[in-house]
Symmetry: C2
Subunit: 247 residues, 2 copies
DNA sequence: CGATGGCTTGAATCGGCTCAAAGCTTGTGG
DNA sequence: CCACAAGCTTTGAGCCGATTCAAGCCATCG
């Protein structure tokens, strides 16, 4: 548990401001989180394990993490991707025991907000409280979309959809450039996220590349033909609620 | 939009009291919801459609509903089951547009809580607010479990798991008797919930029956060998957080 | 009673899996 | 700077779980 350099919690502010306009005081309350202990977790290591008794809420400042859970015989499912600005586990706020694990996919920097401090933050401002609801409801919408992905879409569509969604989420927080973004998942991770095998993911990626839709190499992804990819995946960003403030 | 008979909102109270002990005033605030318009929706009809602009939150008083969404070519996914006491769509509370539909699986009775009234209820009591978070976080946990179901489990395990989960949820609200419960889903619904085809669901159910694990007929399900079914499904009720108050 | 919706069965097919081996990168230590 | 290990990616061949298509059955109901 290394104390970090107290980097700014910008991703959260940027995220919340997509939904509500924060007052200077609210702004400050969130910036203050940067004073809390910062963890640096190396890639492929867990932040929290299933069964742990959480006493705090984590916020990703930097890097990619995921929720995951596995079955007795080793089958593993990645349940969701956690990107900078994401709160991972309000669970810690109310529950006694984690029902899943949190793992780092790349090197991750995260702040740990103790239960009490988190409760105080929520209570301090109606707008922050609302923003937190909005954040959580959006996660729920993403989780539903994954449910459809796994339940109804073909291997092709699943991977295309995952790429569209992830790219769009990154884009919203300013982490893409020229249609390209970091992509720390290896093929086995993609397999665990899409309910396929790594071998089949490999063949599917080849086909996506052959069709000129994507480039995926050296931990980077590039969307070469976004309209075509989104059509293939039947991707509609509406469920991500990226432009809520425009009401 | 028929006005109902103002039946009691008991399922919500029972549910919340699994998590917090409500004061008489809080009790009353929730009972008061029964004064709101009650809808009676016939089986197989939608309460809310994707794209609708929600202005209220629904609570199921009676009967089974589901969230669902379909792809352009007609593939349909049931995203979750909504049972008595469940809030369907806090979405309506914050969002402009439904990203999925709400459908009745059996005859359903539901109250409609206008945005404002819902916000007032949340603001009126810290405990109710917490209970609502708990309710929402539990839904999220269920949705994650469905993600694993669809991503990693075989047809057999999927159906077994769905039965275990649903039975346990019903049990918690007193809607089972002697290992048996209502079960309004037809095989096509089971297929849409588990990401299988109706034909395969049929064959899988036969095998479950042949092994003496379940009975399923005339809109009723009976679990004949619960331990065996739970083991087969690798079902562990922990994620449903049924005994939170015992802290 | 015919129509309708749900359940069951069979046969052929296929998308994705398994197993196995080989090529490629990347990082590490000597 | 090389050598080797470890982890990732790629390829091939055979297989299997689940799908598709099609037909028949059974109950319910206007």
């Amino acid at each position: 548990m290394l104390k970090g350099d107290g980097g700014r919690v910008n991703p959260v502010i940027g995220k919340f401001e997509r939904f509500v306009r924060l007052s200077p005081a609210e702004h400050q309350a969130i910036e203050a989180l940067a004073g809390l202990p910062t963890h640096r977790v190396p890639a492929r290591q867990d932040l929290v394990r299933e069964g742990d008794r959480p006493t705090s809420v984590f916020v990703i400042l930097d890097g990619w993490a995921c929720r995951w859970k596995s079955l007795a015989d080793g089958r593993r499912q990645i349940l969701s991707l956690l990107l900078p600005g994401d709160f991972c586990d309000l669970h810690g706020f109310l529950y006694q025991e984690m029902d899943h694990s949190l793992g780092a996919l790349s090197r991750v920097r995260a702040v740990e907000i103790p239960r009490q401090a988190f409760a105080r933050l929520l209570a301090s401002s109606e707008r922050i409280n609302q923003a937190m609801w909005w954040s959580e409801l959006t996660s729920a919408a993403i989780q539903r979309e994954w449910t459809i992905n796994l339940g109804q879409r073909s291997a092709f569509e699943r991977i295309a959809h995952l790429l569209c969604e992830t790219f769009t989420r990154l884009d919203a927080i300013g982490l893409t450039r020229d249609g390209s973004c970091e992509f720390p998942l290896v093929q086995q991770d993609l397999a665990d996220a899409t309910g396929l095998t790594a071998v089949h993911v490999n063949r599917t990626l080849q086909e996506l590349r052959r069709r000129g839709l994507i480039r995926l190499a050296e931990r980077r992804a590039t969307i070469l033909d976004r309209p075509a990819l989104e059509e293939l995946a039947e991707f509609d960003a509406a469920y991500l609620y990226l432009e809520v403030r425009r009401r």
